[in-house]
């Protein structure tokens, strides 16, 4: 976010509170049971710092089941739990609209130079980075070491199609390389292969073992390495490819996955610095592979899995799984053979086209501030300023559906129950967490309703009940029955 002279925490609070006032009363976050310090590894690194739990900052829960709050010093939108990658995309884009509305309300009372500006990006160009985290539900019986072995190659190589692009560099190693353009916003900030931390010594695979669900049945893979995408298709393929590969892991085990890069952190960074996609890295078997080679192998793995009848865990709709595979393939072939053909889908290609075109038109040095301004403004959420909106990116969501998703939760997960309760009983829902809701009925003790399975609490399971219960009292009585 930006706002010259403004304090980031104050500005973030203004954004969250602006939206909360426009909609519902503030609902606090229920921190009971939050344990971001738990490590998924049997032998954890005891020197790592557990992430801070910030209990005092602005927070609210939206009727679409999302959480909107101040995290560290930025406003954060955590989308509701979704059943499919396409729903994940829908509620990601709805989050942009939430932020846009919050910004508009906040700026009705703030004037230049204090107006708040929001950017959906992952670094400020000065060495500060902040993530766009993905979370995937994984079966608990998959050993965590297998998750690491299966996912590292994907997480270091997928940036060639889902990287958001960056002008210049911010960290010592990347600066020393003389990079003028990187595929990913996040890559240069990663220093470890596996670890618990998220703000320093960032790991390619984060070990936070906090499923926000029944710990005996579920893991939540907390992916912190991704870029925030402006391209809808990139978000879809980012979520879809990762979900498909996790499904392959659950059903076929880790042995079908390609050998890891021998040095994953180096591979991640080297791949990021090479828009020509030629750089190779040795794998553990002594083969050398480009990022594209990895993605090609992983796509084939996913494609064969779907051809054998897999994929329903990612979406019950075969057309959606097909779309993910098709787009993933087209992006891979396009980015290698004819990048211009995928400038309508791949953010780093679209952004580079603007930057390179502008540089050539005015014969600018690669370090010119105007090129950095273009790169920043690509992510500007204001429609009158956004360059992503002007870059010719394909939209696959219906704008009406997006507007609905700002208010209505997905029907297919427990987010439905959360969002509907916030909408129907705004005065009674006093606190929430991903796996519970806390009601204050105005009499007796606070009542916590647990939701330990993210796949339940759906419209199919709860809508009739909610419609019958006009008050939270009635709902709680029915739940007790």
């Amino acid at each position: 976010m930006g706002g010259p002279g403004s304090d980031s925490i104050v500005a973030s609070s203004i954004i969250v509170n602006a939206y909360a006032q426009g909609a519902r009363a503030r609902i606090s976050w229920d921190f009971e049971g939050e344990n971001p310090g738990l490590d998924a590894r049997a032998q954890a690194d005891r020197t790592a710092f557990a992430p801070l739990v910030e209990t005092h900052l602005a927070n609210t829960v939206l009727t679409n089941g999302a959480r909107l709050y101040v995290d560290h010093a930025h406003p954060e939108y955590s989308s509701p739990e979704c059943r499919t990658p396409l729903e994940g995309l829908l509620f990601d884009v709805a989050g942009e609209e939430v932020m846009r509305r919050a910004q508009r309300v906040a700026n009705e009372t703030l004037r230049e130079p204090d107006a708040v500006m929001l950017y959906k990006n992952n670094s400020d160009g000065k060495g500060n980075s902040y993530g766009c985290h993905e979370n995937y539900l994984v079966r608990r019986d998959v050993p965590f070491d297998d998750v690491v072995r299966a996912m590292v190659a994907h997480l270091v190589s997928r940036q060639i199609i889902v990287g958001a692009g960056k002008v210049g560099a911010e960290t010592d190693d990347a600066l020393a390389s003389g990079a003028t353009y990187q595929l990913s916003q996040r890559a240069e900030f990663f220093e470890e292969v596996v670890g618990l931390e998220t703000t320093m010594k960032r790991p390619i695979v984060n070990t936070r073992d906090e499923p926000h669900a029944d710990v005996d049945r579920f893991r939540r893979l907390h992916v912190i390495i991704g870029d925030a995408n402006m391209s809808q298709i990139a978000t879809l393929v980012k979520l879809g490819s990762t979900a498909l590969l996790l499904a392959v892991l659950e059903d076929e085990g880790v042995s079908v996955f390609p050998a890891l890069p021998r040095n994953p952190v180096r591979a991640l960074r080297h791949y990021a610095l090479d828009p020509d996609l030629r750089v190779t890295e040795p794998d553990e078997d002594g083969r050398t592979r480009t990022a594209w080679d990895y993605q090609d192998a992983l796509w084939q793995l996913a494609e064969r899995y779907v051809a054998r009848g897999g994929g329903s865990v990612v979406s019950d709709d075969p057309a959606q799984v097909h779309m993910i595979l098709t787009q993933w393939r087209e992006m891979l072939d396009g980015v290698l053979d004819d990048p211009a053909s995928v400038a309508d889908r791949i953010d780093w290609v679209a952004k580079r086209r603007l930057v390179e075109g502008y540089r050539a038109r005015y014969s600018l040095a690669p370090t010119d501030a105007r090129l950095r301004a273009i790169a920043l403004q690509y992510h500007d959420l204001r429609p009158e300023k956004s360059l992503a909106l002007r870059a010719g990116l394909r939209e696959i969501l219906d704008p009406t559906t997006v507007r609905e998703a700002v208010h209505k939760p997905p029907t297919t997960t427990r987010a439905f129950f959360r969002g509907e309760c916030v909408a129907r009983y705004p005065d009674a829902v006093t606190a929430a967490n991903w796996d519970s809701l806390v009601f204050d009925l105005g009499h007796g003790p606070l009542r916590r309703v647990p939701m330990m399975d993210p796949r339940r609490g759906t419209a199919a399971l709860t809508q009739d009940l909610l419609e019958k219960c006009e008050t939270a009292d009635a709902l709680l009585t029915a739940l007790d029955g």
Partner: protein, 65 residues
């Protein structure tokens, strides 16, 4: 307290994929993009923040995961 799910009647799960109607994308747009670059650069000139140096300098976002 009973888990809220326990008392629900089971019935066929309704699946909702709000945008699957939109799965088709045409592939001609890539070509068109090439021709549009000049127009796009004109548009950038119109909306790009005037003082790029100051704009970029002022964007600081500390404290993130």
């Amino acid at each position: 307290m009973a888990e809220q799910e326990r008392i629900k009647r089971q019935r066929t799960e309704r699946t909702s994929t709000p945008a699957t109607g939109e799965v088709t994308v045409d592939s001609s747009k890539g070509e068109q993009l090439k021709a549009d670059l000049d127009e796009l650069l004109d548009e950038i000139d119109e909306v790009l923040e005037e003082n790029a140096e100051e704009f970029v300098h002022n964007f600081v976002q500390k404290g993130g995961q």
